[in-house]
Structures are given as structure tokens and as C-alpha cells.
């Protein structure tokens, strides 16, 4: 996959504070998560990419465009859903979304058509003629998403999209983000301090701490690696199930409560494990893949990174 976000020693100084320091990295995922505690610099990074703040040193390229020299092209390519409440007072949802689509460069008729479409997509089709200030918080979040996708951006910046949402609304937002990602036409950059949101939606993650990159990892690769690491509990047999697993090419280590930690080689999956257990007269009472990988990565990054 080609890189679509390249950071080259990017630093941003706001007032007398260095908010971003020497960020360097290349990201190519379909959905990139920006993780970090509050004040880590996630939103500042998004704003710098949008041209709101000027880098004090270094450079960044988004979708092939330099974020300083080609800021206009960047903003044409991006759909942005800000973290805070943001709406235009006095006009309906559909007019708001259409107006922003027109401001992004769409002709009037196409902008209006896409505004209807975007509002239906996010589930606000029935209330699209109501003024935005009458929307609930969850509806306003969805309207912000609609204005961000209506003009057909190549990149979607989502800043804390599940903020203030109740669990069903959060699920709906996550489902929409996944749908956008799966459609494959829009790259997603999701800034959040919620590990779960990022883990559910993203395949690559950039973890920031105190304005520095604490970790940059490919979640898909981690997931693939995790799919190779299983924990199982075997009961019965002649006591040499570990040896039989080693015979399959697995690396085996003892875990707690008589469980085994097993790294599966390529071509070996649960099916082979069950077959081997059957042949060895062993009952498999527990078999699970490693979980919470992002949490572990995040914890490691917070302890060591920055």
C-alpha cells in the first residue's frame, strides 16, 4: 500500500510551547488511529495537516500534497469532522451540508444531491430539513460526519468522533466509520483517546506522547501476529501434548494454571490443533487468541515512549 501520510521531522510551536516535536514516520493504512492521552498533540497534528497551524520546522505530506505549500489541495482532499460542537446557525441540515460541499468545490446541483445522500447515509435523512441547532448532541455528531463526507473527500479526519455519545450512538458511529473504511474510497484518520474506538476502526496506529511519536505500529500486522499466538488448556492424554505440538512446528511455553502458550507456524490453525488433540487423546478445554494487543502496545508506549 502506498504511503499517504508522510511526516518528516514535523515540529509545531504554539506560543512558547512545543506541541509537536520532530514527528517522523510514514503511514499507509486505510484507517489510521491517532492515539494518545489528552494534550499529547493529536488534534494539533490534524490541524497542522489542515493548514490551521504552520510547522515551526520539518514537513508533512498528505495524499501526495505538501501540507504547507499545497494547503488548498490538501483541504480539497480532506473531509474534517472537528471534536467540538460546530454548526452553522439558522439553516437546515441539508442546506448546511450542501453549502460546505459547495465550498469544497462541488457544483450546486451535485452538492445538494450529495448532501441528501450523506445525511441519509449517517441516518439523518428524516430530520434533514430541521435547523441544526435543534439537533441532539448525537445528531450533531452525525451531521458533522455528513458534512465531512458529502463532498467525496479522499481523506477523512475524525477528531474524537464518539465524544459525548451514548453507547448505541457510539456503536452507530463506529459502524459508519467501518463502512466508510470498508468502502475503500476514503482513507480515515481517527484521532481518539479511546483505545477501543481505534482498535475497532483502524489498521495502523500512531501513538503520541508529549508531542512525540511514542509508537507507530501496523495493527493489521499485530493482529496477524496475534492470530499466531494462542493460549490453550489441555487435559488428559499421556502428558506429552507439548511435545506433539512441537512436532507440528509450534513453539510452546508453559503458562499459568497448566495452560500452554503456543506460537503457531504458517499453515497451522485451530483445526490442526483439534485434530492433534484428538489423536493424542487430549481434551482442549480452553483455546484463545491473544487479546488487548493495542492496550499492551499503548501501555508500552506510555512507559517507554515520548
Amino acid at each position: 500500500m502506498t504511503a499517504f501520510l508522510e511526516l518528516d521531522g514535523l515540529s509545531v510551536r504554539l506560543g512558547r510551547r512545543d506541541v509537536l516535536r520532530d514527528l517522523t514516520g510514514t503511514l499507509a493504512g486505510r484507517a489510521i488511529g491517532l492515539l494518545g492521552p489528552n494534550g499529547a498533540g493529536k488534534t494539533t497534528l490534524l490541524h497542522t495537516l489542515l493548514g490551521f497551524f504552520r510547522p515551526s520546522s520539518g514537513a508533512a505530506r498528505l495524499a501526495g500534497f505538501d501540507v504547507v505549500r499545497e494547503s488548498r489541495e490538501v483541504r480539497r482532499a480532506v473531509g474534517y469532522m472537528p471534536e467540538n460542537d460546530a454548526f452553522v446557525a439558522g439553516i437546515s441540515g441539508v442546506r448546511t451540508v450542501a453549502m460546505f460541499a459547495e465550498l469544497s468545490g462541488l457544483p450546486r446541483a451535485e452538492a445538494l444531491e450529495r448532501a441528501h445522500e450523506a445525511l441519509f447515509s449517517v441516518g439523518l435523512g428524516e430530520v434533514r430539513y430541521r435547523n441544526l441547532e435543534t439537533y441532539s448532541l448525537g445528531m450533531k455528531q452525525l451531521a458533522k460526519l455528513a458534512q465531512a463526507i458529502a463532498h467525496g473527500p479522499r481523506v477523512l479526519f475524525l477528531d474524537e468522533p464518539t465524544n459525548g455519545l451514548d453507547p448505541p450512538a457510539r456503536q452507530r458511529m463506529i459502524r459508519l466509520i467501518k463502512e466508510i473504511r470498508e468502502a475503500g474510497e476514503i482513507r480515515v484518520v481517527l484521532s481518539s483517546h479511546l483505545l477501543r474506538d481505534v482498535e475497532e476502526c483502524c489498521d495502523e496506529v500512531l501513538i503520541l506522547k508529549d508531542g512525540r511519536i511514542a509508537a507507530l505500529c501496523d495493527l493489521e500486522a499485530e493482529r496477524r501476529a496475534n492470530r499466531r499466538l494462542v493460549e490453550l488448556e489441555a487435559v488428559g492424554g499421556n502428558g506429552d501434548f507439548a511435545g506433539a505440538l512441537a512436532g507440528l512446528g509450534c513453539a510452546v511455553a508453559p503458562g499459568i494454571r497448566r495452560r500452554l502458550k503456543v506460537v503457531l507456524p504458517d499453515g497451522v490453525g485451530p483445526r490442526e490443533l483439534y485434530r492433534l488433540a484428538g489423536e493424542s487423546g487430549v481434551q482442549l478445554r480452553h483455546l484463545a487468541y491473544q487479546r488487548d494487543s493495542l492496550e499492551e502496545i499503548f501501555q508500552r508506549a506510555m512507559e517507554n515512549g515520548g
Binding site: 489542515l50 459547495e102 441519509f120
Partner: protein, 286 residues
Amino acid sequence: MTVRTRRFRPFEGTPTSTLTRLLVLPRYAWKEAFAGKLVTGAFTSAFLVPAGALVLVWLKHNIAALVNTPFAGGIPLPIDAQFFGWLLVAQSYFAFALTLFVGPSLVSPDLVNGALPLYFSRPISRWQYVLGKLLVLAALLSAITWVPLLLVFVLQASLAESAWIAGHAGIAASILLGSLLLVVFLSLVSMAVSAWVRNRAVARGLLIGLGVVPAVFGQALNEMLDVEWGGVLNVGLAWGRVLEGLFGIPVRAGIPLGGAWASLLTATVLALLLLRRKLKAFEVVR
């Protein structure tokens, strides 16, 4: 409307031009400007004076219509530069009233509701945003200042003898220049004030205050220091002095013409600087 399937497709067409995008803002803001009945009322009544002037000019050249009236011998009012100057004075009051209603509602709601990041994440600049919003007031104020006044001028020119046109051709330029100054000054100052205080009602109060407080201060300076240049702080007086320079109407402002222009232009530049400072996608907390 049919129920649509979810499609997240990029826009493959040709993007619209910068000018087209710029005109999107006034088009959407225009309807908002006329949301209140007061604005519609003020806008409509602003045409009374120019309409009266049109009738007056027509009657002056059609004395037959005044038979059996006290003016059967003709209307004793010269249609000259001063006539148009006083018309512009009258229209500037309506312009100020309209600015009070419309100006603060252009920018402050966007600031209060956090809409600026939505605008500035699009391919438009801060100054294009300002220009787009300014066009709403500019169109509105133009419609009640130079447009009707030029209509009156054209009617007079078409009815009068060619000698009148030769002697008064400069009036059209004065109308345009004076109106342009008024439109830009009022638009920018009202937008800057509303961007600063972020509240429509407070902005309206402050706009009235800006006309009164510096004037009182300037008058106090005049009294204390026994001078006359304190009048440059009086925006109304400065405007009157500019009109005196353009149309020769007697204002007796007591301030030099250059000082009056400098006063209004300085206020306009200060408004631009204030807008530059306040209209940002995000405030940086230092």
C-alpha cells in the same frame, strides 16, 4: 425522495472556480440577513428618500404636473452636488441602521457555534471568508446608497440640458467614492466588532457606542486643549467632512479633510486587523 443506498464515492468532476466558491457564502448568508422583519422593514424604508428624490427630479422637469399647486412656478430646489450630498447623508443613516441589524449576525454566530473550523478546512482562505460575508452587507448597502443615487443622477442627466451634465459630471464619481467608503467602513467595522464580542446584541450596542464615546472624548479634548482636531474621533463628523469635500455640503466639522479621511480609513484598517486576529479556526492558548 427515494431511500438511498450508502455510497462513499469521491468527487470526480471539475472543481468550481475560486470566484464561484466565494459567492457561495453570500448566497447562503443572504437569506439569513432577511430572516427578521425589522431588516426587511428598514431595507424597504431606505428607498423612501431616493424614491422621493426621483419624483422631485421628474417634477422639476415636468412643471405642467404642478399646475394648481403652490409649486406651479417651479420647484425652488437646485439639483446640484449638494442635493446629492444630502441624499447620501440621509441614506447613510439607513445604512447604519441596516448595518446594526445585519452586520453582527454575519460573523458572530459562526464564532459562537464553532463553525469556523468547518469553513477553514475547505479550500477557502480567511480573507475569502471575510470577503464572502462582506458581500452580503456590501450588496445590501449598495442597494440603498450608490445604486438609487445614480438612478436619480441618470434621471436628472436625461431630463436636464447638456450644460448641466457638463457642469456636474463629477457628482457620479463622488456618489460612487462616498458610497464605497461608507459600505466598506460600515461592513468591516460591524464584522470586526461582532467577531470581537461574539454576541449580536452586545455588538449592536458597541457599534452605537463607538459612534458616541469617541465623539464625546474628542469633544472633551477640544474643550480642554482649545483645539478642533478632536473631531477626528467623531466618526459622524468625519463622515460629514468627507461628504463636504465630495459634494460641498456645509458641515462645519472643524477638522481637515485629510484628517477626516484618515480617521475613517484608520478605523477600517483597525477593523481588518481585528478580524485577522479573531477569525481563526482555533484560538491558540498561550
